[in-house]
Structures are given as structure tokens and as C-alpha cells.
């Protein structure tokens, strides 16, 4: 059956419409769970609030369980699911830049738009920074292209790299995630902050 768009069950336009609805839902949940507060996001780095870790690990687990069960029921062909290709060094450098921006700016790209939607001035400056960054990258692209597309590693996945079955890796990640949740709650007790 799935993926819906690749199997031509829905058109590209329907796909965009669904993405639009999902995007609105995503933004709503981000905002209502407090992700538009940079203090809450920064809490991750100081240990007083680890909700970011919990939310993203939970999202990953839900997606993994969902996809594998759907594959098991023949609802989706995992071979047809797009896997982001790995360009090793550009990914590492990009991750460092993104992480630094996260700490300095107090938002990640998605949450900055959430915060801008509820009228936060600092988020508007952050978005300005995003566009400035896009502009610089685009203008400098001819210089960066070799690096950007270099060290291509195909589309490796954890189960392939470890030589394990998908399900075993999922179980492993679930256990690791629960360990991280426990460590996160420990950190919240250890470095509490009254108001943020």
C-alpha cells in the first residue's frame, strides 16, 4: 500500500495539503507543550528541564514502532521510504553549526516559528538569522559544493551498520531512551530551577 505518494494513491497536491494539516498540528503541539520558550529549550543544556529530550526520543520511538508494525501488516513498503542520504562531514559540521545556533539563539528552526507565531520578538530576530544564514550559504554555494557533497556514504541505517534486525535495534533504542528519560529526571531533580 504505502507510502501513499510514491504508490500514486494520492497526488502531490493532496500530499502538500496533508503536510499542511500535519504542520499545523505539529506547530500547535510544539507551542502547547512549551517549546516556544527558549528557557525551556535551553534547560536541556543545563539539566533543569529535559522535556526536549523526552519529546524527541518519544517521537522517534512512536515513528519506529509505527513504521515497523505497518510494514509487518503490509501497509507500507519500507524499501520505498525515503532515507536521507549521508554526507558525513557536511552533516557533522552542519550539526555543530545548528547546535551552536540552538544554544546561542535559544530556538531550533521549527520552534522559532512557533514562538514568532505567539509574538516573541527574539524569535523574529532568530528567523532573520535563519534567512541570513540561508543567503550566505546560497551565495557561497560554489565554494562549498565540494565539501557539501563530499564524503557520500549512501543511506546507511543503524540496523544495516550493526548487522541486526530492525526490531532488535528498535528494542535497543527503546531501552536506551528509557535510560535517558530516567537520567533526565534525575538531572531535573539535581539542578532544579524555581522559575524559568
Amino acid at each position: 500500500m504505502g507510502p501513499l505518494i510514491v504508490s500514486d494513491i494520492i497526488t502531490q497536491n493532496t500530499n502538500f495539503f496533508l503536510a499542511f494539516l500535519i504542520g499545523i498540528g505539529f506547530g500547535f503541539v510544539l507551542e502547547s507543550s512549551g517549546f516556544s520558550s527558549s528557557r525551556k529549550l535551553a534547560g536541556m543544556f543545563y539539566g533543569y528541564d529535559t522535556v526536549v529530550l523526552k519529546v524527541f526520543f518519544t517521537a522517534a520511538i512512536v515513528a519506529m514502532l509505527g513504521l515497523l508494525f505497518m510494514s509487518l501488516f503490509n501497509w507500507i513498503d519500507l524499501d520505498m521510504v525515503y532515507v536521507n542520504p549521508t554526507y558525513l562531514w557536511s552533516t557533522i559540521v552542519g550539526g555543530i553549526i545548528m547546535g551552536a545556533g540552538f544554544i546561542v539563539g535559544g530556538f531550533c528552526p521549527g520552534t522559532s516559528f512557533c514562538a514568532a507565531a505567539i509574538g516573541k520578538i527574539d524569535a523574529l530576530f532568530f528567523i532573520g538569522g535563519i534567512f541570513l544564514g540561508i543567503f550566505i550559504f546560497t551565495e557561497a554555494y560554489p565554494l562549498l559544493e565540494g565539501f557539501y557533497k563530499g564524503s557520500f556514504r549512501g543511506t546507511p541505517t543503524l540496523p544495516e551498520a550493526l548487522g541486526l534486525k530492525d526490531g532488535v535495534v528498535v528494542l535497543g533504542i527503546i531501552i536506551v531512551a528509557l535510560g535517558m528519560f530516567w537520567a533526565g529526571e534525575w538531572a531535573e531533580k539535581k539542578f532544579p530551577r524555581k522559575e524559568y
Binding site: M1, P3, I5, V6, S7, F56, T58, I61, L65, L68, F69, S71, L72, N74, I76, D77, L78, D79, M80, V81, Y82, V83, N84, P85, C108, P109, G110, T111, F152, G154, T155, K165, D166, G167, V168, V170, L171, I174, I175, L178, F181, W182, E185
Partner: protein, 208 residues
């Protein structure tokens, strides 16, 4: 249930689900199949063909996106094959060892055999499995030899395009070891760099 830690509650759900996935065998069937109607449409449109001129042009310009795949038997391949072609005998087309070649998203695979029957069958099989980027050399090796290696000289009254085409074919044929079909040194299949094993599907951008 009231005082239960949400983390424990979550664990109670996801650990059993993870255990199920860890112990059931993975689903290896491919629900995606091209429908016969779609296949017919592809075949009728002739979109699966690369003409000999296109292939010759790519070969002469050393286009790295071209991968010629000889689907004839190994003995025939050793006797003669197109420059840079790799040999995937039709009988072993679906072996695991070739999966990275026939199911990839970086290059144009062009199947060829003596005629077009086996190459077309190879294309149909791979197309049915949902693999992209596979094509067929129009007319096969026979037509290749006829049109590129020994092109007919057009009459002196032919339009300029015909003469230009002939000139190109003649030049390409010589560059690619034509005339008497003498094997040139370029005809050893090089080791291709490893290519991405997964097909690139329509992009879905993620991120937070």
C-alpha cells in the same frame, strides 16, 4: 494507576511492543508492484529506450552517469562488449550481489543484449520491482553495430542533419573501437565505486 510515574507507564507500553518487533521475523515482501496498465503505458511510450546515438554520445563524452549492463551470458560478454559495460547475466539478474547496481538512484543503467528481448525483459522485471533509472539500448547490440560501428553513408543530397549524424556516428564508432570491431583497451569493465543501495524516493524533508 493514579500515582504511576508516566515514565513507567510509557515503558509498560513500548517495551512489549519493542519485544514483539524484536522477535517477529521482518517483513521482506514488497507490496509495491507496478500495475500491468502502468507497465503497458511505459512500454507504449517507449520511454525505456536509450538510442545508440545517445549512448554513443555519453560514452564519447565519458559521462559518469551511464552504466551499461550487458545481460548476455559471460562467454558472450568476454568475446565482445561495449566499452565500460559490466556483465550481469540475465539469469542472475535478481541475485543479491547485483541489487546495488540495478536498484540505485545515481546513474542511468542501460541494459543491452544482442537483440532487445533479454534487455527488455530485464527492464520489465526491475521496473515491476519499482526500481528506477533502468533503461534499454534501443535495437540492442545488433543495431548498435549497424548504426554506430558501420554507419551507412548518406547520399550527397541528404539533408545536413543526416550528414552530421553520420559524421558523429563515424567518429564515435572509431573512438569506441568500431570498424572491424577490434577490442580497444578501454573495453575492460572498471570497478565501479560503491553506489547507494537504497532507491531515492520522493523527498520528504524533516527536522524540528
Amino acid at each position: 494507576m493514579k500515582n504511576i510515574n508516566p515514565r513507567v507507564l510509557l515503558a509498560m507500553f513500548i517495551i512489549p511492543l519493542g519485544m514483539i518487533l524484536a522477535f517477529v521475523p521482518a517483513n521482506t515482501t514488497h507490496p509495491y508492484k507496478l500495475s500491468p496498465e502502468d507497465l503497458l503505458e511505459y512500454v507504449n511510450s517507449g520511454m525505456q529506450f536509450f538510442t545508440p546515438d545517445e549512448v554513443a554520445h555519453m560514452l564519447v563524452s565519458k559521462d559518469p552517469s551511464l552504466v551499461l549492463i550487458d545481460v548476455r551470458a559471460e562467454t558472450e560478454y568476454e568475446k565482445y562488449h561495449l566499452p565500460g559495460a559490466i556483465n550481469i547475466p540475465f539469469t542472475s539478474l535478481l541475485d543479491d550481489q547485483w541489487k546495488d547496481y540495478v536498484n540505485q538512484d545515481l546513474r542511468y543503467n542501460v541494459f543491452y543484449s544482442n537483440g532487445t528481448v533479454n534487455a527488455n525483459q530485464a527492464w520489465m522485471l526491475t521496473r515491476q520491482l519499482g526500481y528506477e533509472n533502468n533503461y534499454v539500448l534501443q535495437g540492442g547490440l545488433n543495431y548498435w553495430v549497424e548504426s554506430i560501428m558501420n554507419p551507412d553513408k548518406p547520399g550527397s543530397t541528404s539533408p545536413n542533419e543526416e550528414i552530421a549524424k553520420y559524421d558523429f556516428r563515424k567518429g564515435a564508432g572509431q573512438a569506441l573501437g568500431g570498424g572491424a570491431m577490434i577490442e580497444s583497451s578501454a573495453q575492460v569493465a572498471p570497478d565501479l565505486p560503491k553506489i547507494a543501495p537504497r532507491p531515492k524516493k520522493k523527498k520528504v524533508q524533516g527536522g524540528c
